[in-house]
Symmetry: C2
Subunit: 238 residues, 2 copies
């Protein structure tokens, strides 16, 4: 937890928050903090600054808060990702949030097992929790937006064109295509398939929607490795 993320309901007066639970535990056990100490805090979807501990006991901590700095720049990226298996989903959401992805669409694909859509980790509060962990890690406050789209074809045909308009459109696919560009500095929509990749039909549908097929070279990477590699390659200086 490199940032204590404050939510509106934490405020008990304009500049004072009261925290308990996981954040209190972190402040007492990891920071071993005492009244007077300054901690890095940020308001969810707002600015970052510092909070001075005013009172602290085993039930709650109160901080006097001053916010002054904007959060890091969001990536100019909309990520379209075939739903990963539940075990990987949590980690992927945290990593992507930490990397600065602000718009994520989890879609179905032929090689996504139907059962994956049943995982409780797709519930709104669970996704929020994983995103929060990513923001706390990366010292960011801007909550990503996550959309779930369980039907591939209607999504690609009806929704993707407006979602990806005015952006560069890429689909990561290990077979064929051109080498993934480097440092492109422009708004991008990037589609990434499941383990085993999109099937040909899906790549064709994406190509019909204007997506260019790009690869990462001869190595085949797991989705969780490919994601940071692709993001860093497209936007190395973010």
């Amino acid at each position: 937890m490199n940032l204590i993320v404050l939510q509106k309901h934490d405020f008990i007066s304009p500049n004072r928050v009261r925290l308990s639970g996981r954040q209190l535990e972190h402040i007492t056990k990891v920071h071993r903090a005492a009244p007077g100490q300054q901690l890095r805090v940020g308001l969810l979807d707002g600015q970052i600054g510092s909070g001075e501990i005013v009172t602290l006991d085993e039930k709650c901590v109160e901080l006097e808060v001053a916010l002054a700095i904007d959060p890091p720049q969001p990536l100019p990226l909309t990520l379209i990702l075939a739903l990963p298996r539940p075990k990987m989903l949590k980690r992927v959401i945290q990593h992507l949030t930490a990397l600065g992805v602000k718009k994520l669409v989890l879609i179905n694909s032929y090689r996504v097992e139907k059962s994956y859509w049943q995982t409780p980790w797709l519930q709104e509060d669970k996704l929020f929790e994983q995103c929060l962990l990513g923001l706390e890690q990366a010292v960011d406050t801007q909550m990503p937006e996550i959309l779930l789209r369980k039907r591939f074809k209607p999504f690609v045909e009806d929704e993707l064109p407006s979602l990806s308009s005015d952006s560069r459109k890429l689909v990561a696919h290990p077979v064929g295509g051109t080498a993934c560009p480097v440092d492109i500095k422009q708004p991008t929509t990037l589609a990434i398939g499941p383990e085993g990749g999109f099937i040909s039909y899906e790549v064709e549908k994406l190509q019909e929607a204007g997506f260019q097929s790009v690869h990462l070279g001869p190595r085949i990477l797991r989705v969780e490795t490919a994601l940071p590699v692709l993001i860093s390659r497209l936007f190395p200086a973010f």
Copy 2:
């Protein structure tokens, strides 16, 4: 398993291998292969090609092998990494191998807990196993070399200068320093600290050894996210 990695002891004649265990299981259960079928194979530290199934039963499979293609290029990188916690170590070794790292030195650091060095996952056969999984994933055959160095100061003072000679020397450190360069196309030695980072003394020792401190911007990333991000940023086109 995108590649079946053959070892010398698998060969029963110059062009024929006999496999059992995990590889047999993969061939029967995932490939659902039958005699006559071609599978992608590669010789450990050698070339990649194809293997045709000659015989197959519940105990073993025999393949007639033809090797023709060189494995992917290794990264021109020596990675000096503070020993991650055991839970993360396996994943990190697999990811780094899949990314093409061929030389990895796991070192001690002030913020590495002493107990981490006791994990059975540091045994030679266990490290080999994790590297093999990375090679199978990435369709590579070149086994990385992994060194363990339990004492920071003697390593940095006595061994690192020759290990890093004729290479660009970088230490990833979130505080101070300059932005990590992009697409540098030159042999590089990169040092990465533990969760929480190197302490100032350690950064200074590395700087004395010629290492330049570089950061990834305002976001603080977990080591397992920072590794692919750094590697992709330094060598996007590998």
